[in-house]
Amino acid sequence: MNKIIEFKSLIYKPYFYFLLFLVLTGINPFLISGDNPYTTNLSRRLEPPSAEYLFGTDDLGRCVFSRVMHGARISIGASLSILLLSLLFGGSLGILSGYFGGWVDEFVMRITDIFMTVPTIVIALVLARSLGPGIKNVIIILSITMWTGYARMIRGLALDIKNRHYVETAKTIGLKNSYIMLRHILPAILPPILVMATLGMGRNIIMISSLSFLGLGIIEPAPDWGAMLNHGTSYIRTAPHMALFPGVFISLTVLSFNLLGDELGSAGNGRQFFMNTRNPGNPKGIR
């Protein structure tokens, strides 16, 4: 019952529809834009937005609108892959080190310490320079740099749950460690992980476009938002729409993921999404 009510609240949020729209265009970009994002038309370069070209055209006469729509596929897809890889790797290491403690914990934590000490973008740039550009490399690079954050947070969560009485009880009745981790700890920490993952999507998109913007991520002619921004910067005086529209989409996407994360994380909502627990709530009037 509660589950439906909670999902209902999303129906009134504009960002929910924006994300839905992005996912749909990501699945099939031609749904919205008929133009091929790679087709050049040198006779119609740098045209401002018009009815025919909604976001104008770029320096090679390509349709910016269709490129932005195709960019959704790259951004959402790459960001999702990074999220899954880093969450899987970081999450399992986090649960293991939180649950077992000892030298496993010590080792994993020292490694995350190192990654946390050097700014993410610094590591990403160094790696990107050695691996070279391309979507596959971007996914590898950012998975390598992003897993530590998840590992640390999930370790903290697992450590908290591990010390609860019901986990101790489960241990004393002789359940296997793997069973306890999967059936007792994982479900309990799932809601905060979901919030973390939602916010992580936004962060991943920013990181991807940062790398592309510096020319070390996804590069032309692939229609990536960051790369388009980088490319458009040179034309900021003559054709500002080339840089402005991809940027708007980056910002709106990140904003939507942030808002969704806040919504999931606020007031125990994240808990309700999954556990279906009844929250008696703070009675009105009494602070």
């Binding site: 000490t117 050097v118 050695s130 510096l214 990140v254």
Partner: protein, 312 residues
């Protein structure tokens, strides 16, 4: 207490050592022969010949195996010698020393502005929850945390340099050049900081001592700017130190856009030019700043908050 700090410093050294090791091996994932690449960068396509490459390789020690290079480099930095830039030939430390003040100034000014703007806004926002000011502040703050720094920089350049022709968009000759990059950094930081200040202040406002202060008839300003401010001071200061680090991190992109002669631009150029010694020195430098700030905040915690416990 001294034992605690000794442990912290030891930990810091291990982490720094790990950081340089990590970057060293990350950098050598590269497929191409570094000597060839450097020669290409240095002399251009026509002038290089196998002899030039060999000479360069032996000069820089690039023809040895990775582990020999690694141990050799480690030995050198232990003596404080970070080598010289492969591209310009200037000792890296000199170059960093020359560039860092620019980055430091940007970060410090922006954090200062952030503190001045975000603290009162966050506190008012917490005190008048769901009123107009709070709604508008939160609305703007959620945008601020979602815009990537390079996009904000481009928008500002477009508005203030291209359209209004008010401010210079690149270089660093006179104080007006500070305005745009500082604005970009400050706008991004205030978004995060307002959120933190607001949530911390809400916690404090719900505490019993604030309710007691209300019950004693104290004025709202007295409660907000004495009772609440004193209690959020430490968490907010900690967060601002994080923002300072974020500004340093963000400098890599911001300085590239604004052609700001700081360490961010230096790093970006080093990465593009595969200037290995410079990259390594800069990574160590970035890591050292992070460690230093963290250590500093911890020390501050202990001196301000006398009741901190040393469980760790």
């Amino acid at each position: 207490m001294w034992q605690y700090f000794l442990k912290r410093i030891l930990n810091t050294i291990i982490v720094l050592f790990g950081a340089v090791t990590l970057t060293f091996f990350f950098m050598h994932f590269t497929e191409g022969d570094p000597a060839t690449i450097i020669a290409l960068d240095k002399y251009g396509g026509q002038l290089i010949s196998p002899e030039v490459i060999d000479r360069l390789a032996s000069e820089e020690g690039l023809n040895r195996s990775i582990f020999v290079q690694y141990t050799g480099w480690l030995k050198l930095i232990c003596t404080g010698d970070f080598g010289h830039s492969l591209r310009s030939g200037i000792p890296v430390l000199d170059e960093i020393r020359l560039c860092f003040p620019y980055t430091f100034a940007l970060a410090l000014i922006s954090v200062f502005i952030t503190a001045i703007v975000a603290t009162p806004l966050g506190i008012y926002s917490a005190a008048y929850q769901n009123r107009f000011l709070d709604r508008i502040t939160r609305f703007i703050a959620s945008f601020q945390v979602s815009i990537p720094n390079f996009y904000l920089a481009i928008i500002f350049i477009f508005i203030f340099s291209v359209k209004l022709k008010l401010l210079p968009s690149f270089g660093c000759d006179n104080p007006t050049h500070f305005i745009l990059p500082v604005m970009v950094l400050a706008v991004l930081q205030t978004g995060f900081t307002i959120r933190i200040v607001r949530s911390t202040a809400i916690e404090i406002l719900e505490s019993e001592y604030v309710q007691f202060a209300f019950a004693r008839g104290l004025s709202m300003n007295r409660i907000l700017f004495v009772h609440v401010l004193k209690n959020i001071f430490i968490p907010v200061l900690t967060f601002l130190s994080l923002q300072f680090l974020m500004a340093i991190e963000g400098s890599i992109i911001i300085e590239t856009i604004f052609a700001w002669p700081g360490i961010g631009k230096l790093f970006q150029e080093a990465v593009f030019g595969r200037d290995f010694t410079m990259i390594q020195a800069l990574v160590l430098f970035f890591a050292a700043i992070v460690c230093a700030i963290n250590l500093l905040v911890d020390m501050l915690y202990i001196f301000i908050n006398r009741s901190i416990s040393f469980i760790e």
